[in-house]
């Protein structure tokens, strides 16, 4: 068995993994990235549309261009990269952690590391998860799989397409399938509002006159061998209305119905998982319940933009280095998701070193107000021009924000939206 030793091992070579590794190397510690695919970049490599990099690089890039910027940094920083290599398990050892990795080229490789950064990303929810009834023919794909087939593998998955879910991948695939010659008959969204970014609604649906059915579901899939048609039903009080249902003949159904952080490896390593985010429970330094294991990017919670995932990962890289240098927070306050807030990540804050928080709301509202309370006293307020569950809200806290806080060690910071 091959064996290598590093200060930090990063699992996953997408936007988050690369950004975290670059930061670790920038601070002079040794670092390896383990990536299961045969190249770095992760899902970015199939996202050939633009809209990446506005935050990180102040320019608009496609997914692969965005990834290449980071690949160059990874190479320049002298980071070791294990490609086509899957981490099978993370074990505790006297020296730190042991990662057992499988690859065709190197067989089983054991990586020893003082700290581990989890950056494995997420997976798509599928038909079973949303329990769409009907037959089980060929022609039902998750949108991301269809995107991979078209943009990387060069295959067209169907000719007459219905898309379930108006998340960004679904919207982008509506346009992409149209461009490759397929007819997209509609996008069906269960919520009364679109899940994707407004710019994608305009550029991917409106520009191509693709109908968007809000408050509708695909209530049945039919077809013996390949999909032949789907039944679309409007929701009345949350229940499909059979009388107003209609059929759309099609041969393909693409599902863009949400993403789930992929934490099976983390769970097997003993990391505590939040039932709300399906990501790890982390402290103010992005460290999980297992000392020395950190988590960032879409494996922690699903981000709207790769830029946000990279930004969060860079901070995580720095926190991992600080932890290895024994710089640990003396005091951390628990953060509670208050009214109309689904979650806040991370779940703790260090009042000496305030940082960025990401949150998702439970409501759709214009002119909303973000309210932070410490021991029931309002300590910060901010206007939010528009909130909806599919749009992540970021809050940057500065030293100035927190200097007047009268925080005890058991104080709780409650974050709510009104």
């Amino acid at each position: 068995m091959h064996e290598r030793t590093y200060d930090v091992a990063v699992i996953g070579g997408g936007a988050a993994g690369m950004a975290a590794a670059v930061e670790v190397r920038r601070q002079g510690l040794s670092c390896a990235i383990v990536e299961r695919e045969n190249q770095l970049g992760g899902i970015l490599m199939q996202c050939i549309h633009n809209g990446f990099g506005v935050q990180e690089f102040k320019k608009e890039l496609s997914g692969p261009e965005f990834a290449e910027e980071f690949m160059d940094m990874v190479a320049d920083a002298g980071t070791d990269v294990f490609l086509s290599t899957t981490v099978d398990s993370i074990e505790e050892s006297e020296q730190g952690k042991e990662l057992y990795c499988y690859s065709r080229k190197n067989g089983v490789v054991k990586l020893n590391a003082q700290a581990v950064i989890l950056a494995m990303g997420c997976r798509e929810r599928n038909r079973g998860n949303i329990r769409t009834p009907g037959t089980r023919p060929a022609g039902v794909f998750t949108a991301g799989l269809a995107q991979r087939l078209v943009n990387v593998e060069g295959y067209i998955p169907g000719k007459n397409v219905v898309i379930v879910g108006s998340g960004d991948i679904g919207l982008i695939m509506a346009r992409r399938m149209t461009w490759v010659g397929a007819k997209v008959h509609g996008v069906v969204e269960i919520q009364p509002y679109p899940a994707g970014l407004t710019r994608n609604i305009v550029q991917c649906l409106n520009d191509f006159e693709i109908p968007l059915y809000l408050s509708h579901v695909v209530s049945r899939i039919e077809g013996k061998n390949r999909v032949e048609k789907v039944t679309v039903s409007p929701l009345v009080n949350g229940i499909p209305d059979e009388d107003k249902s209609f059929e759309i003949p099609c041969d393909t159904l693409l599902l863009s119905v949400g993403l789930v952080p992929e934490n099976e490896l983390s769970e097997n390593a003993g990391v505590e998982i939040s039932p709300i985010t399906s990501g790890a429970v982390v402290d103010s330094t992005m460290m999980t319940s297992v000392p020395g294991i950190f988590s960032c990017g879409n494996v922690l919670h699903v981000h709207d933009l790769a830029d946000y995932a990279a930004e969060e990962a860079r901070r995580t890289g720095a926190y991992a280095v600080a932890w290895l240098q024994n710089k640990k927070p003396t005091r951390q306050l628990r953060i509670k998701a208050g009214a109309n807030v689904r979650y806040v990540s991370p779940g703790m804050i260090n009042p000496e070193l305030p940082d960025k928080l990401y949150l998702r709301t439970l409501i759709v509202k214009n002119n909303a107000q973000l309210v932070m309370k410490l021991n029931n006293n309002i300590v910060k307020e901010r206007k939010l021009s528009h909130v909806q569950p599919s749009e992540m809200v970021s809050v940057k806290l500065t030293k100035k924000d927190v200097e007047h806080w009268k925080a005890e060690s058991d104080s709780i910071l409650e974050v709510s939206v009104q």
Partner: protein, 487 residues
């Protein structure tokens, strides 16, 4: 079955033709492969086990559900006992985890009494009446209302399709000819021979024919001019739960049975996932494998009556299967035809058909002898199939050695179920070249992502190994094409 282009008029001459490569046909074929006789196994689908045997509860039953007067009970008891040896020979996942029947009130407990007595009469080994305390000792996840139940330690679980694949592999290894996509449409009898025609023009000549056509046994019987009967498809819907679920019991949990079925179960599958279901609904269309929205609630409710921690969020897939019921009695119909010459009926093989199948193989062999078929034992019969390593069974240290021999075990294709390139290639080389065939052989695409990450990799491996073009790749044969164009 890499190519669909079978030569029309292609003629295969054998002693015995078996129609249907489900679990019954497969076990009959393997049984006969131990004798000096030419056997052809005819399957209308693209792969074996794609009918009734694909979607059922996967239970090796405990021998107490039906009374001793039924043929199916005798074959169930015998079949159950044959599984340990079969597992050693055929290397399929099998766990004798045991079965519990859960009584939730005193009325149900009376029925447990009946099941227990029935099981004793049948000769079921080791069955035990359980108090409430004993039930919770055996299964801590049970609903607190449980008042007692029945324990059948001899019951167990298998993956039914995987079992059929292994049985067929063994049969083929011992000389059985497997003809896939062979849909019998016409037959005539002349000069001591059946001449069996497939839809695509191929012909099989056989002295004896065994009708193990599952849902279509009535139709096949008609084609051969044999007995008239009707197979009624009875649909059962299932939900598959992620292996992460907290609701996985130690043993198969049955409710107290109803008149039409054994009720909805909570099944810890042999591969670590959990199956809940099935419903029981008589339908008309023998190809209707759809699932229905109203059934999910029913299944969850029923499952939660036994295991309250069953959760809707753990669902990763829904599917349905059809039981080939021969009403009204519901017993197996396995006999020499009185109408058609040299024709054996194997019909109505619903539950406990999977358990009984190995015994059905023996029973049909004896019927063939009775019908005049000469069977002498083969000197070089080899009951063992080659064991294929599964990377998920290896520790990293053991895997290190395996990877040194074959590096393709190091390329993990299916992350959810941990299936390597080497295992998928083995499936393809064994003739499983559809996405579903590979799924049932290896488990790749069967986990929580349901193929979202790995199916395109599997498609590329099929193309690499077989030389098939992208537009020949199907989900499960026929027109179930996956890709419609190339950029």
């Amino acid at each position: 079955m890499q190519s669909n282009a079978h030569a029309a008029g292609e003629r295969t001459k054998v002693d015995i033709a078996i129609i249907g490569a489900g679990v019954s046909g497969a076990c009959i074929a393997r049984q006969l492969s131990a004798y000096e006789t030419e056997v052809a196994l005819l399957e209308k689908e693209a792969d074996v086990s794609f009918g009734v045997s694909k979607a059922n509860s996967g239970i090796v039953h405990g021998g107490f559900h039906h009374g001793p007067k039924y043929l199916k009970t005798r074959l169930e008891i015998r079949g159950n006992l044959m599984y340990d040896r079969l597992q050693r020979e055929l290397d399929f996942p099998f766990s004798r985890c045991g079965i519990l029947v859960v009584a939730l009130n005193d009325e149900e407990m009376k029925y447990i009494d009946h099941l227990y007595t029935q099981g004793l009469e049948n000769g079921a080994i080791g069955i035990e009446m359980c108090s409430r305390e004993r039930m919770f000792e055996l299964e801590p996840k049970l609903e607190s209302d449980c008042v007692g139940g029945l324990h059948a330690p001899g019951g167990g679980v298998i993956e039914p399709y995987r079992f059929v694949f292994s049985v067929v592999e063994s049969a083929v290894k011992n000389g059985v000819q497997l003809l896939r996509e062979f849909e019998v449409v016409k037959a005539e009898h002349s000069g001591e021979k059946h001449i069996v025609h497939a839809a695509d023009g191929r012909v099989v000549e056989a002295r004896y024919v065994v009708n193990a056509a599952g849902l279509f046994a009535d139709k096949v019987s008609g084609i051969f001019g044999a007995e008239e009967f009707q197979i009624t498809p009875r649909k059962g819907e299932y939900y598959l739960l992620d292996r992460k679920t907290k609701a996985c019991p130690n043993r198969v949990l049955f409710p107290v049975p109803t008149k039409v079925s054994k009720g909805m179960l909570v099944i810890p599958t042999v591969e670590g996932t959990v199956l809940i279901g099935p419903t029981a609904e008589e339908i008309e269309d023998k190809t209707d494998l759809s699932t229905n929205a109203d059934k999910l609630g029913q299944i969850l409710d029923q499952a939660r009556k036994m295991v309250p921690s069953v959760s809707q969020t753990d669902v990763i897939a829904a599917f349905s299967g059809l039981r080939p019921a021969l009403l009204p009695e519901g017993d197996f119909y396995i006999d020499i035809s009185e109408e058609a010459p040299n024709f054996i009926q194997v019909a109505g093989i619903q539950s406990p058909g999977l358990t009984a199948a190995p015994a059905i193989g023996e029973y049909v062999k004896d019927l063939l002898k009775k019908a005049g078929c000469r069977l002498t034992e083969k000197a070089d019969y080899d009951p063992f199939v080659t064991k294929l390593p599964r990377i998920r069974d290896y520790s990293p240290f053991e895997a290190d050695e395996l990877l040194a021999k074959d590096a393709a075990y190091g390329n993990l294709i299916c992350r959810c179920e941990k299936i390597s390139e080497a295992e998928i290639v083995a499936a393809i080389r064994a003739g499983h070249t559809t996405l579903d065939g590979i799924k049932y052989f290896t488990r790749a695409q069967m986990g929580r992502c349901q193929g979202g990450f790995c199916s395109y990799k599997i498609i590329k491996l099929i193309m690499r190994e077989t030389g098939m073009n992208y537009d020949q790749i199907t989900k499960n044969g026929r027109d179930s094409v996956v890709l419609t164009g190339r950029l």
